[in-house]
């Protein structure tokens, strides 16, 4: 009797000890399992799909080797979509960085109404990109949007730009919508970086006769460096995935002119149902992104922001 209670208490103790010992693994298990099931497994599955002929119409999945990849590489639209992705993401991020930096510099000093202005300036971050695209389409679209009317009034002659179908205006429209939504992203991060620069540095510099633009180049920019790298990296990684505004504003058009890689793969996979070809293409895209990411993240870790 006594022995058995002792035995049971030992067992109970060891069970809680077991959970205590493995506590750290028990805590990470649910999240890790979920990511394995919905991200790692699908990716492995898609690797298989990209080497077979996966078609809803044709039964069986015959192994066809690299044929899907060859089809993607041979498709001029695929190559063009990659060019569009690079053009749009690089120019959007550049515009957002310059405007975000200017905004951060303008907002770093305190003034009346700054808090309220701040709340208004960050609003675009919380809106669905679909709605951002819709809103800019409404503003720009001929003949409904007021943009052409305002430009005509301002310039004194009749402006009739088809903002969503005419090159280069369709690219400018897409970049404008992106900059509208994501400039606050740069602004907020860079502002946090600016406020972290100790003000006495500027005071000391002023005693040495360094101020204005010189102070900006010699103090502000170098100290802001890691923050700039962080903001640009995070933003660039998201910009390469551009899909929503393309879908709503141009539909990839005219023709296939504003296809980004994500939009191209979407049309191949979900409109033409060339599933294997789309999967092969997304693996190529994934590898290209991974190269860019590892390069940028390595730079970032070397800089060690804050």
């Amino acid at each position: 009797m006594q022995a058995s209670t002792a035995h049971r208490s030992v067992r109970r103790f060891s069970l809680s000890e077991w959970s205590d010992r493995h506590f750290k693994w028990l805590l990470v298990a649910p999240a890790v399992l979920l990511i394995l099931a919905l991200s790692v497994y699908p990716l492995l599955f898609s690797l298989w799909v990209s080497f077979v002929n996966y078609d809803f119409q044709i039964p069986g999945h015959a192994f066809i080797g690299l044929k899907n990849f060859k089809q993607v590489f041979a498709d001029p639209v695929a190559r063009w979509s990659l060019v569009v992705t690079v053009i749009l993401s690089v120019s959007s991020v550049l515009v957002e960085f310059l405007l975000g930096l200017a905004l951060a510099l303008a907002m770093v000093k305190n003034f009346r109404g700054r808090g309220l202005l701040m709340s208004v300036l960050i609003v675009p971050l919380f809106i669905s990109p679909v709605i951002v695209g819709q809103a800019w389409a409404l503003l720009l679209q001929r003949p409904f949007g007021p943009t052409n009317y305002l430009l005509s009034q301002l310039l004194g002659y009749d402006v009739t730009i088809s903002w969503l179908t005419q090159t280069p205006w369709n690219f400018i429209a897409l970049i404008t919508a992106d900059a509208w939504q994501w400039t606050p992203f740069m602004f907020v991060i860079l502002l946090a970086g600016l406020t972290a620069i100790p003000p006495n540095l500027y005071e000391a510099a002023e005693l040495d006769g360094v101020d204005g633009w010189q102070a900006f180049w010699l103090i502000t920019l170098p100290l802001l460096g890691p923050m700039i790298l962080l903001a640009v990296t995070l933003r660039l990684l998201d910009a390469t995935k551009l899909f929503d505004t393309i879908f709503i504003m141009t539909g990839g058009g005219p023709g296939t002119q504003t296809y980004t890689s994500s939009y191209y793969l979407y049309t191949i996979g979900f409109q033409q149902f060339h599933l294997s070809q789309a999967t092969a293409g997304s693996w190529v895209f994934l590898i290209l992104t991974a190269i860019v990411i590892s390069f940028l993240v390595r730079r970032l870790l070397k800089a060690e922001p804050t």
């Binding site: 959970s19 919905l38 991200s39 510099l105 305190n110 503003l139 992203f185 994500s262 996979g269 804050t306």
Partner: protein, 281 residues
């Protein structure tokens, strides 16, 4: 967001230039929002007027009722609420559990933490194709459950990393004291660490909710007639030249109001949210 005023020699940049730039930007930010709002209450006859109607004489709410009922915006709203709230709770709970383990026990070393982070940068298009095929076999397409699980995984990296940063800057002493007093590790976590981290958990949850609420791509592909969310309702307005401007705008207003309100409430944590906890702000 640190709003502490930084005193700085007040000479750089003429104030007049600064005021002009900020006013220009304020107009640029507000213009699309104003135009969407005005279009949502404008009678259809005013759409094509030249000069444009900047404020309608007879505002109307017909577009709102049409968007909510004829275009099933209300169904989308309910679906969005169900999916976003469930995914937010799941993401916050699982994210907090994992972040605590990473921060306190350095579980899996740096590798596990960075593996989770790398999920954040996966192109959605690379994952969505196989998920779609798997869901199709499991009959999970167009279900709330399918989208909830997908959104949980989508938001987990940010939740984990926000909470990871939060726990790391929280002192361990309280939990250690609880352990000395005979608490199990779980008790030290649940009744000491979690209450202390509550503000961080709420902030992470708010950003997860906004991410789910505004998400379009996954919803576009994984849902159709039943589980469709609010952003996907906008599909109905593409290609119809002009007729549904009012409905599209009304729907936009309904959809953007909650996420903007939440975002401004969580403004203080914005820098942490945007940088996945890397910058404290």
């Amino acid at each position: 967001m640190a709003t502490a005023s930084v005193r700085r020699p007040a000479r750089r940049g003429a104030p007049i230039g600064r005021i002009l730039f900020l006013s220009f930007w304020l107009i640029f930010v507000l213009a699309p929002l104003y135009w969407v709002f005005i279009t949502s209450i404008k009678p259809s006859d005013d759409y094509l007027a030249v000069p444009p109607v900047w404020f309608p004489d007879e505002p109307t709410l017909v577009h709102y009722t049409a968007a909510l009922f004829a275009y099933r915006g209300l169904d989308g709203l309910v679906n969005s609420l169900i999916v976003s709230l469930s995914a937010t709770v799941l993401s916050a709970v699982l994210g907090t559990l994992m972040a605590y383990s990473l921060a306190r026990f350095n579980t899996g070393g740096k590798h596990l933490a960075f593996w989770v982070l790398s999920q954040r940068f996966l192109p959605p298009v690379a994952v969505i194709l196989p998920i779609f095929l798997i869901y199709r076999t499991l009959r999970m397409t167009d279900t709330h459950f399918g989208l909830i699980v997908a959104y949980t995984v989508l938001t987990l990296p940010v939740s984990v990393w926000m909470m990871y940063a939060y726990f790391r800057q929280m002192p361990k002493s309280m939990e250690e004291a609880a352990l000395v007093d005979g608490c199990t590790r779980w008790q030290a976590f649940w009744s000491v660490a979690v209450p202390l981290a509550a503000p961080g958990i709420v902030a992470a949850a708010v950003f997860a909710f906004i991410a789910c609420w505004t998400e379009f791509f996954f919803a576009l592909i994984l849902t159709s007639r039943d589980a469709f969310t609010l952003p996907t309702v906008f599909r109905a307005f593409i290609g119809f030249q002009g007729a549904q401007y009012g409905e599209a705008s009304a729907l936009a207003i309904v959809s953007l109001a909650p996420s903007i309100a939440l975002g401004i409430l969580a403004q203080r944590h914005l820098v942490r949210g945007l940088t996945l906890g890397a910058v404290r702000g």
